[in-house]
Each structure stands twice: as structure tokens, then as C-alpha cells.
Symmetry: C2
DNA sequence: TACAATCTGTCAGTTGACTGTCATAAGTCA
DNA sequence: TGACTTATGACAGTCAACTGACAGATTGTA
């Protein structure tokens, strides 16, 4: 799964891969320093030492540059959820799915960096969130299947949205607190516990 | 609160108000027909029978046109929540706050129309959602205050996000099902019931 | 009516995303 | 090496958002 440059590929392929990475790297640097909106494609091209025209040979748009990578992280929850054993509770199933997803993603150091850029740049944050919530559609069908509900049922949507919201909030807090790898699962477990108990109970004491 | 043109204002003021409404109306028509992204300011100006330059005298940007109105709907939950009596449960408090908000907003026929345009245009939908979730910040502090939690506490954020997600999902379903005024509260109550019970329970049977 | 304040259209111009075209440079392969 | 394919840069150009400046029309007011 890791997208390291393949040494066995042809020279041409390796060059392309390197150019691509150079553009992404340059873009991330500029986004981090000046923000996404204040960075022009010309800036990115100059920093990556390619022509602006070449930028567009690698990416459809500035947005595409950042979304392509985000896309690749989004290996949909829905089908994975649906595949879990029937006896398992929804939240247990979700936890397992999440665990395997995270393992795969946190190995790539660029993921975290991009995530941090995204969360700190409002316009990117919006897009990241939107993208994150696109998962919700898959989540909703997974939830519906798991619980034996209809997909059009309000309950499926509400539950999907609750879960997605809780996950988004947790990941954000995690990044805000420094994004230490071994903190993410405990935090997710706290979120799961709140999701499980519901809000009818009195306050959940902070266990962290 | 209603933004009808004030007959007592000067001719000049009334004209301005009318021009403003004409621009908004023209924009909404075009957005509905062709989508937000396929509508240029020139189109809007032409349809509203003003010059493009004049458009910018009324709105900072195309985005501003739609966001200004959305902004005005966002009378923040946070403070309102904090004001509820201490004995009341979080969800009861929320229900009351929501009820009063909805009463005020659903009187304006443009609100629903704009909402429908927003939800059906992906790029606007993103922004609407983002905007909706900005409420979450207020919600989080309201939740924290109500439950006696710290605002930095993960639980506050997770609970706020769960609620915001549930509300968003509910409103969306409501609009998708035709946005009948007397359907919204029952649907919200179903959402509240799910929020209250939590996800540890087996499936919630559809009560609608 | 006449003057002042304000609104609007016209027009010219900037910026930045994005595309087409063509010549050249570099990689591939016989 | 030489012919073929592909990547790149240079350049010109489109499109749409957005701004500044000015002149003419409209409204408020004395």
C-alpha cells in the first residue's frame, strides 16, 4: 500500500513519480507557510521547479492536489462494516474496522502532515470535513445493514451522523493534542463509550 | 425579525432593498436551474437587470450572497443552551431551544427555498454544512456548561458533534421528504430519542 | 428649482485558474 | 546509433471573479 517510488520502474516512471512528489511537497510547504488560499499554482510550480503547465499535467486543479491523497485514505467504511460477523455489536464492529484502517494509514508520515495542514487551513478544513463526511453515506448503509434498518430510515441517517460526528471530533482533538500515535485508540474508545451510553445519562467523567 | 421591505423607509432605501432582493431572487433562480457553480455573476446581474459592477456593491462575492442569509439564521445555540434551567436534562434543554429557533425561522418562506438550493448543490451543501457545524463550537460550550465538563474535554466535543450530526441528518431527511412543517418536530424527537438511548441498545424500530 | 449626496452603468484593468499548441529535450527500444 | 514515444517548457489565450475611476442619472433637501 505504501506509495514509495518503485526502484524497479523505468527511469521515466521514476522521474514522473519524483516530479509528482516534488509538486506535492512544494505545495504542502507553501500551504503550511502561507495558507492554501494564498498559494497560487504559479508559486507551487516555481517552488517545485516545474512550469505551471506541468502542474496541470499532474493535477487537474489545486484542489485535486490535496484531494487525491485524501481520497486514497478513504477506503470506505460501509462495505467493511457490512462484512463484520452478524453477532457483533455495531460499535464493536466499527472499532475493529477503524483499527485496521488506522494501522494502514498512520504508517505514512505524509498523512499526518497533510491532516494537520488541512485542519489548520479553513478552506481545506471545510473540504476535508466534507470529504470525511462523504464516508457517512457508506457508514449509513453499513449501519442500516448491520442493524437491519432501511437505508431511508431516519434512524440510519441519525446514527451514521452521530458516529461520523464523534469520529471527526475525536480525530480533531487528537491532532490538536499533538497526534501521538498511541493516544488515538484510547480517545476513540472514550468516544465509543459516549456513543454507546447515549446522552440520557448524566455527564461522562473524563477518563483521560 | 422579518426582513420585509420597510414601507416607511426613504425611496432610496426602498429601492436599494428591492435591488438587493432582486439580485438574491435572480441568483436563487439561476442556482436552482443551473447550479451554483454554473452560474456566473454576469448571469445573475443580467437576470436581476443590474450591471455586474452593481452586484459587487451589494455583495462581496457570489459566496457572500448565499452566506449572508445563512449567517442570519445562525442565532447561536450555545448561549441559549447555557440559559436553560439547571435541572433540565441536556436533551430537553436542546429541544426547547430548537423549538423556539424553528418557529422564528420557518415563517420566512425564503429560508426553506434557500435551504433546498443549498442541499442540492454540492458546493453549497459543503458550505452550508460547514456553516451549520460552526454552530457546533457554541454547542460544545453549551454542552460543557450544562454538563459541568471542561470545554477542552473530549467528551464535550464528542457530544457536541453527535448532536450536531444528528440534527443535520434530521434536517436533511426532512427536506428530502418534502419539508412539511409539522413533520420536523416528530423527526427531531426521533433523533433525540436515539441520542438519548445511545447505540448500545439494539436497533431502534422506526416509529415514523 | 437648485445643489448635494448617493446610486448606477460603462469601461478599462488585474489576477489567477486553466487549456491548446508547438518545439525541444529526454527516455525507450530495435 | 537512429527512429519512436513521451514529458516538459514557452507562449498565447480564455474565462470568470473582482476593483478603480469617472460620468450620468436619481433622490433628498433647502
Amino acid at each position: 500500500m505504501k506509495k514509495v517510488i518503485d526502484a524497479a520502474a523505468s527511469l521515466r516512471e521514476r522521474k514522473k513519480a519524483r516530479t509528482r512528489e516534488a509538486i506535492i511537497d512544494a505545495a504542502l510547504n507553501l500551504f503550511e507557510r502561507n495558507g492554501y488560499d494564498n498559494t497560487t499554482i504559479e508559486d507551487i510550480a516555481a517552488a517545485a521547479e516545474v512550469s505551471p503547465r506541468t502542474f496541470f499535467r499532474y493535477f487537474e486543479s489545486k484542489l485535486d492536489l490535496i484531494m487525491t491523497r485524501t481520497d486514497s485514505h478513504a477506503d470506505d467504511f460501509g462495505p467493511l462494516l457490512a462484512d463484520r460477523p452478524a453477532g457483533e455489536s455495531l460499535l464493536d464492529a466499527l472499532r475493529e474496522v477503524l483499527l485496521s484502517q488506522l494501522d494502514a494509514q498512520l504508517d505514512d508520515p505524509l498523512v499526518l502532515r497533510e491532516f494537520q495542514v488541512m485542519l489548520s487551513t479553513p478552506s481545506l478544513r471545510t473540504m476535508a470535513r466534507e470529504h470525511f463526511y462523504e464516508e457517512e453515506a457508506g457508514l449509513v448503509s453499513g449501519v442500516a445493514a448491520h442493524l437491519g434498518l432501511d437505508e431511508d430510515d431516519l434512524a440510519s441517517h441519525v446514527i451514521g451522523a452521530m458516529i461520523a460526528g464523534a469520529l471527526w471530533a475525536t480525530v480533531n482533538r487528537w491532532v490538536a493534542e499533538g497526534a501521538e500515535r498511541d493516544r488515538i485508540m484510547p480517545m476513540l474508545d472514550e468516544a465509543f463509550s459516549i456513543l454507546a451510553k447515549g446522552l440520557a445519562q448524566p455527564a461522562v467523567p473524563s477518563s483521560g
